[in-house]
């Protein structure tokens, strides 16, 4: 079995309170120090992927918590793992690696639990510049959270309590004497790596390390020494004295997202982030964590805790905690739904690549995106139906901007007219853009996402016409039905890799697709008249593309499969399932053109 390594790490030993801690350092020691604290049952190697990425810009320090990895265990174990002693360890390490400047703390799981202690006790004042917490609440805050729900159990609060109570099953197990140690040193320790791979989708790259059985056996005392006393008598003054960035993995099976509802009270300078990931995010989402840690540390480096709020002013939009700093590519972003979607993502703080075949409008979208909150936005002029151009785009985006986190295949054109009037040329054109454009996008960017193995999301703009047949739109509806089915199939295929796929079915939305729709089988003048007439009708309906954009963001956050947007689209979707005959009758109606 191979084990993960911290390449190029400098090692040192720090003696404190009767134990020796194994400390590893990466990167230039003159840079700001980022201190990574691991959880349970882990060792400092849990951070290996994140640490090497951070080492380019920071002085990265990791240490094995007492009793874990290569650090020695206290004797006796009972009473040797209290949060007070862990705080001593932290101060000893911080003084050894960064005697003059405060450090930036990053904690995962129990590393975060103890870091909350560090950041809320008096004696560490001035030693911590910022704290990034993931998957580990403060035991004191947790205690208050439980108390509040037990003393005034409204139905919702009771449900939250029961929910978290069920998720904490392992905590009760760890409080039984001897048995956990036996299990970890026996069969559980042996099977743990495979379990992690199967349940948590952690890549099989040699982590956990060989010390796992003893880490896990010793670490049980973290729970036994701290959980009961702290939950019974939580400190009333556990206020954070440094800015806190909270990263919440939405798929964490051990911790409810509701745990952090009251956190603003304890941490006045709080930045929230959500990540569609499971518990071991440092293994499964290193790129995203690195980006967020880098941003947060940089923002709080110069001024320390009193850094100006503007440096990390959270993007104002909805879902900013989810999309801040992520890379979003939208095709057909020069107008209509695509443009509104780009703006909505920009408002949530995402980096935006606006793709359109019209250079000017793509540039305009990028420019306005930067104005509403995108940290950066780029315009790319590409016709999505052009395979080679799309390949070039994918290559350029990957090398210059990074791997796309959210792909929105939105570009599409309209084609109306009877089937018998529609020429082969017309068919080819509409399928090239509406279907092949989506295929190229999914194929190229989907592959990049899959190869990165850190999740992502693909949104395809289908249409209500995908399930509402109509004699006026045979070609368009066919292309959109294909997009809908492609999305469903792709969703099944990519689900195992943490990549979600959503199909958006807008309905009648007031965009300029009506003004550019081709009407087959009529003269040029008649086509103009019909374009004008449809535009007016859609204008009267006046469903704004901004609402569709909101639906797109919601679909990504909730990982929805098929999203009909307008009321008529939702109605048609419902009817297609329960009264398809009625839809077929509607399909025969002559549109009022």
């Amino acid at each position: 079995m191979t084990t993960v390594d911290l390449l190029g790490a400098r090692e040192r030993w720090v003696r404190t309170g009767g134990v020796e801690l194994c400390v590893a350092e990466l990167g230039d020691a003159s840079r700001p120090t980022v201190l990574l604290v691991h959880g349970y049952p882990d060792s400092k190697e849990v951070w290996s992927e994140v640490a090497v990425r951070l080492a380019d810009r920071f002085h990265v320090v990791l240490y094995d918590v007492r009793g874990h990895g290569r650090s020695t265990a206290p004797k006796p174990l009972r009473g040797g793992f209290t949060l007070e002693k862990l705080t001593d360890d932290f101060l000893a390490v911080a003084d050894a690696v960064s005697p003059d400047a405060p450090v930036h703390l990053v904690g995962h799981d129990w590393g975060s639990v103890q870091s909350w202690e560090f950041v809320t006790v008096e004696r560490t004042q001035g030693r911590i510049a910022s704290f990034t917490s993931m998957s580990g609440p403060s035991l004191d805050h947790f205690g208050h959270w439980i108390k509040k729900r037990v003393t005034r159990p409204t139905p919702r609060r009771a449900a939250q309590l029961i929910n978290q109570g069920a998720k904490s099953w392992y905590v009760y197990m760890l409080h039984t004497p001897v048995l956990p140690e036996l299990a970890w040193r026996g069969p559980l320790g042996k099977r743990w790596p495979k379990l992690l791979q199967r349940l948590e989708k952690v890549p099989a790259d040699g982590y956990p390390t060989l010390s796992l059985p003893s880490d896990a056996a010793h670490g049980a005392w973290l729970y036994r020494d701290n959980v009961r006393p702290r939950l019974r008598r939580p400190r009333p003054d556990a206020y954070a004295h440094a800015p806190v960035q909270l990263v919440v993995p939405s798929g964490d099976i051990f911790l409810s997202e509701r745990l952090y509802d009251d956190l603003g009270r304890w941490a006045p300078q709080l930045t929230r982030r959500t990540l569609p990931a499971k518990h071991w995010a440092p293994r499964t989402r290193p790129d995203q964590l690195t980006a967020w840690i880098t941003d947060f540390v940089t923002a709080h480096e110069d001024g320390g805790p009193a850094a100006p709020a503007s440096a990390v002013a959270p993007a104002p939009g909805k879902h900013a905690e989810r999309f801040a700093g992520r890379l979003v590519l939208v095709t057909g972003a020069g107008s209509g739904i695509g443009r509104a979607t780009a703006f909505a993502f920009a408002e949530a703080g995402a980096r935006v690549v606006a793709v359109d075949r019209d250079a000017e409008s793509a540039a305009r979208t990028a420019e306005m995106s930067r104005l509403v909150g995108a940290p950066s936005a780029w315009a790319e002029t590409v016709d999505v139906s052009d395979e080679q151009a799309m390949e070039k785009l994918a290559e350029k985006v990957a090398t210059e901007y990074g791997v796309v986190d959210v792909l929105v295949n939105n570009a599409g054109i309209g084609l109306s007219g009877a089937f018998l009037d529609t020429s082969a040329e017309d068919w080819k054109k509409v399928l090239d853009v509406n279907l092949w454009g989506v295929i190229h996008g999914c194929r190229l960017f989907g592959r990049q996402m899959a190869e990165r193995r850190q999740g992502g999301h693909i949104v395809n703009t289908a249409s209500a016409a995908a399930f509402q047949p109509s004699k006026a739109l045979p070609a368009y509806s066919t292309s959109k039905a294909a997009v809908l089915m492609l999305s469903e199939c792709l969703r099944a295929e990519l689900a195992g890799q943490g990549i979600g796929v959503s199909a958006i079915c807008p309905g009648f939305v007031n965009t300029n697709i009506t003004a550019t729709t081709r009407f087959a089988g009529v003269s040029a003048d008649e086509e103009k008249r019909r374009q004008k007439r449809t535009s007016r009708l859609y204008g009267l309906r006046n469903y704004p593309p901004e609402k569709v954009a909101d639906a797109v963001l919601r679909a990504v956050v909730r990982n929805q499969a098929v999203v009909p947007v307008t009321p008529e689209a939702r109605g048609a979707h419902l009817m297609s399932r329960f009264t398809p005959k009625a839809l077929r009758a509607i399909a025969r109606l002559e549109p009022p053109l």
């Binding site: 107008s335 443009r339 703006f343 408002e347 306005m368 104005l371 509403v372 300029n512």
Partner: protein, 283 residues
């Protein structure tokens, strides 16, 4: 409507210009007094008092004030929502002051957009309004049907990436006619609109209906006619994700055959026009 005198305005137009200048002076004075924490109601009252103190006795409509995302009419469903609320101004918030005083029988209807402190989105919106002012004048001089001009403005907004927010006004109007108002001792108003002005507008609607035109410049069929000579208060209103900006000023349309004289802005010395000139000079 009388046509403009070459090289100067007729006495009647000068009256309208005077009240428009007065209204913009009021907007600038009130805008300069806006501080964080001021409510829309207070801002509206400040405008009312400022103009009353300078002799305004009647209104086309009472002053409005919109702050924050109310400048883009977010979630406006009923016309009552236009009236000033207790929304407080915060740093960085955009605001719009909109007033239509009647002074010595002449009506002005103006809209003034500003923001408290820095707001790059608002600056961009305001800068992009310039193209609309030029477009409207050009197409009115071409004597295109008002409905088509409305659609051209709409298209320009879409190209710029904005939403059309004048659509939210009653009848979705981008402009409406204003005219002389008889000065009476009493000047009651209903729902914020002066009864004298409403009477004038109603009689225009009636006459226009017979002759195939409307004093309301809307996207609907009743605006499918060439520009009717008279004074039009034009108010293109852009909205962009919770930020709105507009200007409103009087466009003079005459029956002159000379394109230059057939339509012109009553006054070019207005805050937004000066602002564009300054921006151009700085660039």
């Amino acid at each position: 409507m009388t046509s403009a005198v070459q090289g100067g305005l007729s006495a009647e137009l000068r009256g309208f210009q005077r009240v428009q200048t007065l209204a913009y002076a009021c907007a600038e004075a009130v805008a300069a007094q806006l501080r964080p924490g001021v409510t829309e109601r207070e801002a509206a009252r400040m405008q009312r008092e400022w103009l009353r103190a300078r002799g305004v006795r009647d209104w086309f409509h009472l002053p409005f004030a919109w702050f924050g995302d109310r400048t883009a009419f977010v979630n406006f469903r009923i016309p009552l929502q236009f009236f000033p609320t207790n929304r407080r101004l915060e740093p960085g918030m955009p605001f719009i002051l909109d007033m239509a005083p009647v002074y010595e029988g002449c009506t002005a209807d103006i809209g003034y957009s500003g923001c408290l402190g820095l707001n790059p989105v608002h600056d961009k919106l305001l800068a992009d309004l310039e193209a609309h002012r030029a477009l409207i004048l050009r197409e009115v001089r071409e004597r295109r049907p008002l409905r088509e001009i409305y659609e051209s403005v709409d298209r320009l907004m879409v190209r710029q990436g904005y939403a059309n927010r004048h659509r939210a006004y009653p009848f979705g109007v981008i402009a409406h006619k204003v005219d002389r108002v008889k000065e009476r001792r009493l000047s009651p108003h209903v729902f914020g609109f002066g009864t004298q002005s409403l009477k004038g507008l109603a009689s225009d609607v009636l006459h226009g209906h017979r002759d195939g035109w409307s004093p309301l410049w809307s996207p609907y069929k009743f605006s499918d006619h060439p520009p009717q000579p008279g004074l039009w208060a034009v108010e293109p209103h852009l909205g962009f994700r919770g930020t709105g900006a507009k200007f409103e000023e009087i466009l003079v349309v005459t029956d002159s055959a000379d394109p230059e004289q057939s339509a012109f802005w009553l006054d070019d010395d207005l805050p937004h026009v000066r602002r564009w000139a300054e921006e151009r000079a700085a660039a």
